[in-house]
């Protein structure tokens, strides 16, 4: 147990406190981490989800990493806190991919903790060449602009890919991310596999609401293709949308609630591949379009799950050691990627936005 300075408050606190910023992280650091801060020498993998970091001093800190659904109840948080007390003096952290990590100084406690986590339904893994947790957004759980749900797809995809979370047998890392609309809260645009919620219909203009809730000049300026024009409807100022120019980005809805985008029939999911953030070997890069549209099919989105699993399996079978998705595709070329995965190449795969010509094949380098 780690004591923390708290003021238990009944009802209204005495004095209003603001602008204090986050608590200093130092008071939450395991004593071994505090002692060896900045003095780590190397690390070893002890198997999926288990790491050992060795300090210059010879001290060793052990990490046990488990997957979580990101959306957690306070009861599960308390369970994690109890586990931390039981196994590691109360010290834990979370990763940038929503995994929970327990920090131990006693290696004998690693396996019992792993067993207890697994029995409680939290798989241990996500390290090295595994598929770590899917970074994702709120979806229908808590966002107004979502073109699809996030948690439901993530759960369905990870149910099928959990073997690759608890094992590290892939040629390289696979980072999967999901964003429920083009705003992309999260780095989905640089993921090995990105699952992206999309609209495919222009916004519906609620002429009754536009003058009440929107600044028309801001609304017009929000459109990247200039598809929104001022218009007078029933004697009142409003806007009209040139539908052929709409590419369904939803930015108008972000600035004006009177232009809703959500459409149960047409909204869905697109799949993107080959992006990366790390600089290891090749430079960071954007994900490229693999599948322009798959339907929203809750609760388990079978078409999306099948498409992602297929891409993972084809990659796992064909990529060479250390190759990330994009590096593998670099080597074999896009025509072979589409052939091996059986994904249809369509007119939608050819870019027609601002820098489109940069993505055309501008050489005679070609494989037959």
């Amino acid at each position: 147990m780690v004591p923390m300075e708290t003021t238990k408050v009944e009802g209204q606190p005495r004095k209003r406190i603001t602008d204090i910023g986050p608590p200093n992280f130092e008071k939450f650091l395991h004593p071994l981490i505090k002692k060896n801060y900045g003095q780590w020498k190397y690390h070893e993998s002890l198997g999926p989800g288990r790491l050992c970091h060795v300090a210059e001093s010879g001290d060793r800190i052990y990490t046990v990493r488990a997957g979580s659904p990101r959306l957690l109840s306070i009861h599960t948080i308390r369970y994690f806190a109890d586990l931390a007390d039981k196994y590691c003096g109360g010290y834990l952290r979370f990763t940038s991919r929503n995994n929970v990590e327990f920090l131990l100084d006693d290696p004998a406690r690693i396996e019992p903790l792993k067993k207890e986590l697994e029995q409680a339904g939290f798989p241990v893994g996500g390290t090295n060449n595994a598929i770590s947790n899917i970074v994702h957004t709120q979806g229908w759980v808590h966002c107004h602009s979502a073109a699809t749900d996030a948690s439901g797809i993530v759960k369905s995809v990870m149910d099928e890919l959990h073997y690759h979370f608890t094992h590290q047998e892939l040629p390289g890392k696979i980072r999967i991310a999901l964003a429920c609309c083009l705003n992309m809260c999260g780095a989905v645009h640089c993921s090995d596999i990105a699952i992206l919620g999309i609209h495919r219909q222009p916004p519906v203009v609620r002429h009754d609401l536009v003058p009440k809730v929107c600044e028309v000049p801001t609304l017009i300026a929000s459109c990247p293709t200039g598809a929104i024009r001022p218009a007078t409807v029933d004697g009142k100022p409003s806007v009209e949308v040139i539908e052929q120019q709409c590419m369904f980005c939803g930015n108008c809805f972000t600035v004006c609630p009177a232009l809703p985008m959500a459409n149960a029939e047409f909204d869905g999911v697109s799949i993107w591949v080959g992006g990366k953030v790390s600089n290891a070997r090749s430079a960071p890069r954007f994900s490229k379009l693999a599948i322009p549209y798959l339907p929203n099919n809750p609760p388990r989105w079978p078409e999306v799950v099948k498409a992602v699993v297929n891409i993972v399996e084809v990659y796992a079978k064909n990529a060479r050691k250390f190759e990330r998705m994009g590096e593998w595709i670099d080597r074999i070329g896009w025509p072979k990627f589409f052939k091996l995965t059986g994904i249809e190449f369509t007119r939608y795969h050819i870019d027609d936005f601002r820098f489109a010509p940069l993505t055309f094949a501008r050489s005679t380098h070609i494989r037959f």
């Binding site: 923390m4 408050v9 603001t18 204090i20 608590p23 957690l72 990763t95 107004h144 645009h189 640089c190």
Partner: protein, 398 residues
Amino acid sequence: MDEKKQTKLLDQLESGPWPSFVKEIKKAAATNPAAGDLLGQLELSYEEKKVHWKHGGIVGVLGYGGGVIGRYSDVPEKFPKVAHFHTLRVNMPTGWFYASDALRTIYDIWERHGSGLTNMHGSTGDIILLGTTTDQLEPAFQELTQAGFDLGGSGSALRTPSACVGQARCEWACYDTMGVCNHVTHHYQDELHRPAWPYKFKFSGCPNDCVASIARADLSVIGMWKDEIQQDDAAVAEYAAAGLDIQKDVCDRCPAKCMNWDGKKLSIDNPECVHCMHCLNVMPKALRPGKERGAIFLLGAKAPILQGAVLSSVLIPFVPAAEIVDTLKELVSRIWEFWDEYGHNRERVAELIQRVGMAAFLDAIGLDPVPEMVAAPRDNPYIFFQKESDGSNGDDKG
């Protein structure tokens, strides 16, 4: 059972090996009716394939212009407990480190004032306290600050800065990412809580970039070393003896082709190294970043909205570790000044640079152009030559 509480579609997401968010919502719903209505409304979204949240309204705590995301149901008559269901973004401790009692403190407060549901963590890195009513925002906020926690950024405010685990538990961290991030977060409290500019700062300790700063941050500070990779020949031999194919898995994968393995000795032509991290990742015991450490500053990453996604690009190739904080503050103040005058509403820094041109932007913030900033010089001849004002050849910045 009440008809609206039946969740036949969502119930199907309770099975399977991956932990279930539906189970989590149900656990919270056992003691909190709002979590029950959230489940009901989500079931309706699953039935209709459509979102049921309205556009966020402006709600917040006294004196802050960020940190609360307003959320209202569009079917409040069916699910009155989530008629308003706002989110509090709580600034996480840097590096997402916790002691168990700190978690209990936060979530005891959240049990009293909210839905009992949370994200650990949100995309911004904040602790997301998911869903409460307007009247509970201020009491929850006051209890949180009493307990030593504060809100993060949202909307047009500086977003909560985030950092990788850095020197707390990583041998590759070339500077103290957590220390710098914590300092910067406290320095810009006013900008975080009262919208001045909608920028994101992210701090990674090495080019592996575990917080995706190059993809997501307006200002990406990524750890870098300048001297030679530290090499332990005995450990290299250990890896080779253990079966690592050093030629194939290390040398052949080096993007700079600056490594040579003769079967016994690994040599690195360090001036040719591009600091990609591959060889260090494969042999962490044998190869380590050099001793002259600091960071590379890159600028401008963002997601696609509005004119397409942008990755950060190099602004300052190397800043010594001891100078990172001061350099960052100076840089931000110069960009801020320019942005104040020329920036548009909601405009990210990459969009500003695209609009005015990188060269004009560099003039404005007083940085000299260096070749490290570009993948290649321009390949079009449309050069905006400047007027010769003082007899020089035009390449001064007057």
